[in-house]
């Protein structure tokens, strides 16, 4: 009853019924890989929630003060306010350690989910026209996420992150012509400058999150405008979206996912120690920890710095230090390639039509090969960032490991990319439904790109049925015989005030499929889920009928205008 009054109250001011009904009927494709982006979104929410709590206790300043908190080994020591407040919020603020660790874990999940999402979009060709804009927005969000991860973990002014910051400073400094000035402008002077931590704090808690929030909004607005892409399957084509509706299916599912992301975040934050800055000690330019590894998402840069040989040179007497290449050039090329990929691919393939159906990764062997090679390359770099740990574990000199990683960094992507390319061609050419069923003949066919022709049945004997419910509204369904006991049936996501409008929508979704009259689903006197019907009882039926009358009246009124 309250819901009903609230709806009427809002609608009489905002005229919401029609757009909200349409939004609630929005169809989402049912595929688990479509959840990565949502996981990223919800870890962003978790980051904002936990981060707000942390910001109330963190002091973004490198001013020295004497520590008097409950962590005994630091008692009475003079340390920076940033470091002291981090240790205090870990040990002296109730639930502080939980929130801090949950925040850090959420950041790792955030970036991991973004990368999985990126991989899904890449390998299925979802970035193709018309979704290039959202690809650009997404890559920008990835750079911002990496930036915010790095500033967040550098702010506590501990020895490990201070060393990482020192390296980042050196990388900026290595840029020809502008490096020194850029480093000074960004960090506020020669390293370590007092300005650095306050600047990182402001960027970390305001500038970057605000930009991310804006871009997330843009990302989702574009997504809603363009609707979801979908994998090819019976009943799906370039003119429709098949799946479950926003209300109630996806509302419940997405809330479940949100709660699950929070559960994982807090379980990790409570049970698994992360970034114990009190063990590393405060930053001191004369000390360094060994072994020293950064968070995994910046490890590719760290690995590249370790693998790239000493190759300083001079131009007209000016120095180009070797960290410039692994530190700046590699990063710039990486993001340039990401930004440019949709346009490069369109240029190479000459494919410029808009797509609603996704590729399977095998459909595009060259793209798969490039993607696999890139993933392997960056994975080797991440591995190389821990070469000192491997050297210790394997008891081999680190220099020979560096050479191993250098060969791997060049060889493994090449080999893996080629392998992926040929396997994709074999899968595409042959009739094997999956990787494990590939035969030797498929491999041969793949090498020659001699594709087995399709089944050649022509268009399926599908039909559209339109019917009226309760003498009020019209719906349609797509029916396609599957050869099995049950036909494939897809029901229109929304109802229509007239038969003509229902037929028009059906024709838009399935051009060329014959339309005929149909019968309402058996036993469907009232369109409700069995569970809610059971819970509701006769009273609910009365209310529902009343609701239909209201809808009908609204429709009639709007038509008479």
């Amino acid at each position: 009853m309250i819901v009903r009054r609230l709806v009427r109250l809002l609608d009489s001011r905002l005229r919401l019924s029609a757009p909200v009904r349409r939004a609630m009927a929005k169809v989402f494709p049912d595929h688990w890989t479509f959840m990565f982006g949502e996981i990223a979104l919800y870890s962003f929410v978790a980051l904002v929630l936990t981060g707000t709590f942390l910001a109330l206790f963190f002091e973004p300043s490198t001013t020295d003060r004497v520590y008097h908190g409950s962590y005994q080994p630091l008692h009475g020591k003079t340390i920076s306010a940033a470091y002291a407040s981090t240790v205090e919020l870990s040990f002296d603020v109730r639930a502080g350690l939980l929130v801090r660790q949950a925040h850090h874990w959420a950041a790792l999940v955030f970036i991991g989910a973004i990368l999985l999402h990126l991989a899904r979009i890449f390998f299925t060709g979802a970035f193709r026209k018309p979704r290039e804009i959202n690809w650009l927005v997404g890559v920008t969000m990835l750079t911002l996420a990496l930036l915010n991860g790095f500033t967040g973990y550098s702010m506590p002014d501990d020895l490990l992150s201070g060393t990482g910051l020192r390296i980042a400073y050196s990388v900026v400094e290595s840029i020809p012509l502008l490096g020194g000035w850029l480093a000074f402008l960004l960090f506020g002077g020669e390293f370590p400058a007092d300005q650095t931590v306050p600047r990182m704090f402001f960027a970390h808690v305001f500038l970057v999150p605000a930009a991310l929030a804006g871009l997330i909004t843009l990302h989702m607005l574009i997504l809603v405008r363009q609707k979801h892409s979908q994998f090819p399957a019976p009943g799906r084509n370039e003119h429709n979206v098949v799946g479950s509706r926003l209300w109630p299916s996806y509302t419940l599912r997405t809330l479940a996912l949100f709660a699950a992301v929070l559960a994982v975040t807090f379980a990790l934050g409570g049970l698994f120690q992360i970034n114990p800055v009190w063990i590393y000690g405060p930053y001191d330019p004369a000390r360094a920890t060994s072994p020293a590894q950064p968070d995994w998402y910046v490890a590719w840069e760290e690995g590249a710095l370790r693998l790239f040989p000493a190759a300083d040179f001079r131009i007209f007497g000016y120095l180009v230090p070797s960290p410039f290449f692994p530190g700046v050039v590699l990063g710039a090329l990486t993001f340039l390639a990401l930004y440019a990929w949709p346009f490069l691919e369109a240029r190479v393939t000459g494919e410029r039509t808009a797509h609603q159906l996704l590729d399977r990764p095998r459909d595009h062997p060259a793209r798969l090969g490039v993607g696999v090679a890139a993933l392997l390359f960056y994975s080797v770099l991440v591995g190389a960032a821990a070469d000192d740990v491997f050297a210790r574990l394997l008891r081999v000199p680190v220099t020979s490991l560096v050479w191993t990683f250098r060969f791997l960094a060049l060889g493994l992507p090449l080999a893996g990319g080629m392998l992926a390319y040929y396997l994709a061609r074999a899968l595409r050419a042959g009739s094997a439904p999956e990787f494990a069923e590939l035969t030797r003949a498929d491999l041969h066919r793949g090498a020659k790109d001699d594709r087995v022709p399709g089944d050649g049945d022509g268009p399926p004997a599908a039909r559209i049925e339109v019917w009226q419910e309760f003498g009020l509204v019209w719906r349609w369904r797509y029916v396609e015989p599957t050869g099995g006991a049950k036909d494939l049936e897809l029901t229109s996501n929304i109802d229509y005030p007239s038969e003509q409008e229902a037929a028009k929508a059906a024709r838009a979704a399935y051009p060329g499929v014959p339309i005929g009259p149909g019968r309402p689903p058996p036993g469907l006197e009232l369109p409700a889920a069995p569970a809610t019907r059971r819970l509701g009882g006769p009273l609910a039926r009365v209310f529902r009928l009343a609701a239909w009358l209201v809808v009908l009246r609204a429709v009639r009124r709007s038509r008479s205008r």
């Binding site: 390296i167 429709n240 479950s244 996806y250 929070l262 000390r287 790239f308 220099t399």
Partner: protein
């Protein structure tokens, strides 16, 4: 069939109800744990149970109690009809008569561009205005004033006879402990093993070098006595102190700068000037 379905729904309802109850219990557990100052692990688990219970309840509700799949929505196409797009383009390109000649548009561009450029100037404020720029600052360190005593990280002056060959002593200029570009180390070596002269004057076998790696500026903290080599823990550069701190492995390409030192009349080590070259990583205008 119907009875079976009813039982199925009943079970799902019970499972969802149980999950929501568990979630409420978890939340209460967290609140109680917080009030009594429970351990981080307990708090985390309680909160995780609360969230996981909600997730399970909602998930069961979505998967087993509601409709799923089987719906289709038409896609109206990505582009407007061509005529509509043309009409919009026409509308956008007709701002008014005076604009059409292009002069005004160009002048507006000039105005906006100049404002943009002018607004770049305050960026200089990001570096404290009275400080000199990077070219000067990066080249010089506090050692430059000359005659400063070498002090250890606690600020205690270092005597020449305290420096052994067993390990390095990390030093700062007196009065500048913690200065980012100044950390150095002293160690005693056997001059007969030198294959190259140190870049700066030592005292007997005592040599002093910058502690900052010439690759990316980490503290080159690990000394191996037998080989007289220094290791950087960040990117595994190795510097040979017997050969003027030349880099012998890893990504560093320049030797560690030397610090000229002497012994004063009371036996303390003093620097006679700045490092033999700018310490730390390379940069464009590095001499």
């Amino acid at each position: 069939m119907n009875g079976h379905r009813r039982r199925h729904i009943r079970r799902a309802e019970l499972a969802a109800a149980g999950a929501f109850l568990l979630a409420a219990l978890g939340a209460v557990g967290f609140a109680v744990g917080y009030a009594f100052g429970a351990q981080t692990q307990l708090e985390g688990v309680a909160l995780a149970v609360a969230c996981a219970g909600s997730a399970a309840g909602l998930g069961i509700g979505a998967r087993r109690l509601g409709p799923a799949g089987g719906h289709v929505e038409e896609h109206g196409g990505f582009a407007s009809p061509e005529l509509a797009a043309e009409a919009l383009a026409d509308r956008v390109t007709e701002p008014g008569r005076g604009w059409r000649r292009g002069v005004l548009v160009r002048l507006l561009g000039l105005a906006v561009g100049s404002i943009g450029l002018a607004l770049l100037f305050p960026l200089r404020s990001l570096i404290a205005p009275r400080l000199p720029g990077p070219t000067h600052t990066l080249r010089h360190t506090p050692w430059r004033s000359g005659g400063l005593r070498l002090v250890d990280t606690t600020g205690r002056p270092v005597r020449a006879d305290e420096v052994t060959g067993n390990d390095i002593v990390v030093v700062y200029p007196e009065g500048h402990v913690g200065a980012g570009d100044a950390p150095a180390f002293v160690v005693r070596l056997d001059p007969s093993r030198f294959s190259a002269r140190p870049p700066a004057a030592g005292v007997g076998g005592i040599v002093a070098y910058s502690l900052l790696c010439t690759h990316a500026g980490c503290a080159v903290g690990l000394y191996e006595q037998g080989t007289g080599q220094m290791f950087c823990p960040c990117h595994q550069s190795v510097f040979d102190l017997l050969a003027g701190a030349r880099p012998v492995a890893g990504p560093a390409s320049r030797p560690l700068p030397g610090l000229p030192i002497t012994v004063d009349s009371s036996g303390f080590l003093r620097a006679t000037g700045d490092f033999s070259s700018p310490p730390g990583p390379g940069y464009w205008s590095r001499p």
